[in-house]
Symmetry: C2
Subunit: 343 residues, 2 copies
DNA sequence: TCCTCGGCTTGGATCGATCAAGAGGGGGAG
DNA sequence: CTCCCCCTCTTGATCGATCCAAGCCGAGGA
């Protein structure tokens, strides 16, 4: 704190601390990085000097010498307007906290949607980050292959769907288990005609979530034919799909691949004056703010994003340790946030 | 790209480029930072070498020498669960893009709510960031005073409400103008008994937004007494407040300080079987995803967060230039996203 | 008393870029 | 023809922390 008095423009350096403590620079460095090498009384003296001067190692100098930046790159993917998919917020918060505890900071960067590798390249070449957390793996994962080839350490939030042989570390949430949970919840409530509204077939995640619904239905020998719809992830699509299903298949409940689609279902029900929760039940996916605050509340599958962040950081620590420890993939289980949309 | 072939562990340095181009290190440095100093043909030769080797300046080395990190610190404040206030998402995205264009990266850090200054100190002392963007200014602004005293460059998103003499740069959105816009919109629709549900009196922002409502009402000689309520920013509070107001003041419209409160109003209306939009109009604030996807849609005041981010970066560039240019505060105008909740 | 050994400390070199000054060459003015 | 200047490029030093190998010191054994 002391240096805030004197100009505050040049923070104290290691040499300043050394002089004050009456030791050499290397001793101060050891006090910071390998305290066990010092005699206890010397250590105390140095630590006092550090505290008095308010010393903190210059990151640039340390990074230059150690060839590490203690930064983790994260491409920030904003939620689309008009959808209910703002998961980034919750996820990033825990990520920042957890990585901070491990001595890492999160560096955000933007990337165009056209060039999935854009942004990664620059940061890597300028040694601005030690590793990446890759999150946008919904449609295959070109970044993973690219980063692997580049020998850049990274951990993915999302399984390598399109490449079972990928060996990189990943953390994911078992979407199928989530929709199975949701479907069983509805089955337990007495519903038998439960419809599915999901994403188009080329979405790995969408198909995974869908499989949880079919698994639960088939486990009770209930049919799924004619009860499923695959559309784009928009309110309008969900609404249309629900309307068609209500006419043709007369389901008493809907399980959806996203809260956005579930909101579309609520629209459709509202159009017909159907009371959701009482007449027809609806379950969404992601436990977004929308699910939480919509009147009555929307039952939704909740991803343990906090836990995902913790596991990601744990995996990164392994990767960045010497020697690197590459753990296997981690699959976490979601929970179900039950609200009035399922009675 | 070339170095991806050979081990990919030690990126090329400035010296490598210099050797390849047959010039000195300094010339390469100039080619990168002051191209106008080079003779055109030399410049081309160096640029070719840079491209061939896939060279990118080592950030740590550059940061050490120039005493600048080209990083901007941002404390990440997540939206509270159960509210509709996820503005960070939209804001951060533009911020990342805009600052990237100016050569700055966004470094996230966490901070406990108890210690508003926590996190800032470390980053500053270790020269990990050049400046900060301070966003959590809702209740006074201890960070601003602290950073000013510390002579740390920063720009605030939010006016220095509690300290009119503060001289730091800031960007803010004219909340009063927003609620005035909302109120006038309702007045134009023929409403005269328009209620206000806002935050408790110690919130500067809450009082500012409230003043827009009173201004619009008084401009048409309409009374405001008995039509206002000040509560906490939760769904439940909004719902209660609306219930009381409906009983006692019989308003035909509500203007709210947040989408969260507005959702509370929708709950209250739903409780009584009142159709929002037709019988009673509601306006929220922030144009959250919730406002966008709730059935019918919630009319809401939309903050120009993208523009805010651009202005913040512009202000930062001024601050970090030599000599620093401290611009005055910037006040931006919100717009109104009209949806069915106002008919 | 001398020597050795282990633990702690020391100065010097290093990471890769930029700053500050200086060297070389060509062109215009006298 | 000479001088000077300017434009272009080069050389040496520097930012601050860490790695390296050598140096110092006191304790213990012969």
């Amino acid at each position: 704190m002391a240096w805030s008095g004197r100009l505050a423009l040049t923070p104290p350096t290691l040499a300043d601390v050394a002089e004050r403590a009456g030791v050499s620079r290397q001793t101060v460095s050891n006090a910071v990085n390998n305290p066990e090498l010092l005699r206890p009384d010397t250590l105390v003296r140095v630590q006092d000097a550090i505290a008095e001067l308010g010393y903190s190692p210059n990151r640039a100098a340390r990074n230059l010498r150690t060839r590490a930046s203690h930064m983790i790159g994260l491409k920030f993917n904003p939620a689309q307007e008009g959808t209910a998919n703002a998961t980034m917020d919750r996820f990033v918060h825990t990520l920042v906290e957890t990585s901070g505890d491990s001595g890492y900071h999160i560096l955000l960067f933007a990337g165009s949607t056209e060039d999935p590798v854009g942004g990664y390249d620059d940061l890597l070449r300028s040694t601005a980050v030690d590793a990446f957390i890759v999150t946008d793996t919904y449609l295959g994962n070109p970044q993973a292959a690219w980063l692997t080839q580049r020998r850049a350490p990274f951990v993915a939030f999302g399984r390598p769907w399109d490449n079972p042989e990928a060996t990189h570390a990943w953390v994911d949430v078992d979407g199928a288990a989530g929709t199975e949970l949701a479907t069983n919840h509805l089955l337990d409530k007495g519903h038998t005609r439960i419809a599915w509204i999901g994403w188009r077939k080329d979405s790995f995640i969408g198909e995974d979530r869908r499989s949880g619904w079919t698994r639960a239905m088939h486990a009770r020998d209930l049919p799924t034919t004619g009860l499923a719809s695959r559309v784009e992830d928009t309110i309008a699509s969900g609404r249309e799909a629900a309307t068609v299903l209500l006419d043709e298949a007369r389901p008493t409940a809907f399980v959806c691949a996203s809260d956005t689609l579930a909101m579309g279902v609520l629209h459709a029900l509202g159009d017909r004056g159907i009371h959701w929760g009482q007449d027809v039940a609806v379950v969404g996916f992601d436990d977004s703010q929308v699910a939480q605050v919509v009147p009555g509340g929307l039952t939704s599958v909740r991803q343990p994003l906090e836990q995902v962040a913790v596991e990601l950081v744990k995996a990164l620590e392994g990767l960045l340790s010497t020697p690197p420890i590459a753990g296997p993939g981690v699959l976490l289980s979601p929970t179900l946030a039950v609200r009035l949309s399922t009675g």
